[in-house]
Assembly symmetry: D2
Homo-oligomer: 139 residues x 4
């Protein structure tokens, strides 16, 4: 079960007047998490786009458990949880890097499109790479 892990500190720009991270930033962090997972699997997303393969978010769902503040160390753990011929689903756990308190849990569906935005199949080579990263399904 491959999983990527990234760590970074909360930027001042990411806080809001409630004194905590503004909620939409968590989804930006999730995208950083899947960039890293794909790199780790050997399918650098920047390279994919250069080949005309785009993964577009079609659905996002996120639950916020605890808040994070400026300069807090944060960790995002990303896994690939589902694959279809034209898309993939990622799952994210955002937690404090110290103490592992869960901050948010999210899931996003992405669909594969070409440079004109039309749906297309994932290239076979990418499908194979991602397939190997899928969580084993219990029969």
């Amino acid at each position: 079960m491959p999983e990527s892990t990234i760590e970074f500190r909360v930027r001042y720009a990411e806080t809001d007047q409630m004194g905590v991270v503004y909620h939409t930033n968590y989804l930006i962090w999730c995208e950083m998490g899947r960039t890293e997972l794909m790199r780790q699997l050997g399918a650098t997303y920047a390279e994919l786009e250069r080949q005309g393969v785009y993964l577009v978010v079609s659905r996002a769902q996120i639950r916020f458990r605890n808040s994070a503040g400026y300069d807090d160390p944060v960790r995002v753990r990303t896994r690939l949880t589902r694959m279809r011929s034209r898309g993939v689903t990622f799952h994210y756990l955002v937690e404090r890097a110290e103490g592992q308190r869960v901050l948010a849990e999210a899931e996003t569906d992405l669909v594969c499109v070409d440079s004109s935005g039309s749906p297309r199949k994932l290239p076979g080579s990418i499908e194979e790479l991602l397939d190997g990263a899928l969580e084993p399904q219990i029969a």
Copy 2:
């Protein structure tokens, strides 16, 4: 069934290298929509915070239907769909302002907290205002 409607144009900063609006911006627009709905109901959110009443997003869900580009005119229609003693649910329809093509559909749960972040009940006066804005439930 009160509904707020806001219209604005996509900012250059909101686009990404795919040439369309980066997905998390839609949730920022949703927040602008509920700011407007609350103002319309007479419960200006900025004023609420000054009284120590905060509404924090605890869950967000969004489906992306079509993309929008730089300078496109966008409309967000916001409704209050559910109320609990300590929270509320809003529903959002994001569409192109010309032609009404749906861009995204979203829902967020918000919980009421005090300035220290502890859950609290909505003030009675606010509860009444919002209650009047709730969609009628069919029996």
Copy 3:
């Protein structure tokens, strides 16, 4: 002396934990201001890009005078102050929409490039449109 004027309210996402607008957002607002000025002059920037003409910020300078908070009504007044064969300079006044208190004053230089990022001259038709918008120089 043509000048564009835009008005909008501060978004929650634009505040930071100091309780005011995070400073870089002012430069995003400036970009909205020049989008509007160009539209007003008949040179819609989105259309320019479709023709392979890009204006890239090469320098930005901004002075912050007063802070703005969530939901505050803001006005940005934009003027074209200088033109060169390969670039233009805009000046911005950001103020509270009620009472006209100055929030910030900024200036940006933009250079003209083609789709590959190489410097190019402004198309003659655009140069003419912008030229007419230049502030008169006192002899």
Copy 4:
């Protein structure tokens, strides 16, 4: 001449439809740079704010030299270049982490205010810490 160095990769959210980093993000990176420099000097900014000492950007100036794209590794080098009793000036060099190509050069003035936004002097202990980090002035 103490200098902080941070490195990170460009986020997808930071790109715009020109295919490069949207310009205002560079100033967000500068703020990350000064957060790190202050931590290194022993004056964690998050801690300063908890003591009622705020540093507010009063002026920013930035020159853009080269563009950066999604996933590019970026480095920000931050130095303290000037100190006054009520404020400080930082200088930033943003460069590609591989090859050291300069992307942007920036400078920001910050003024010290209390929690109500009124100007105040830097606490003596902080002034000392920062003073030691100042670049030596050639007589």
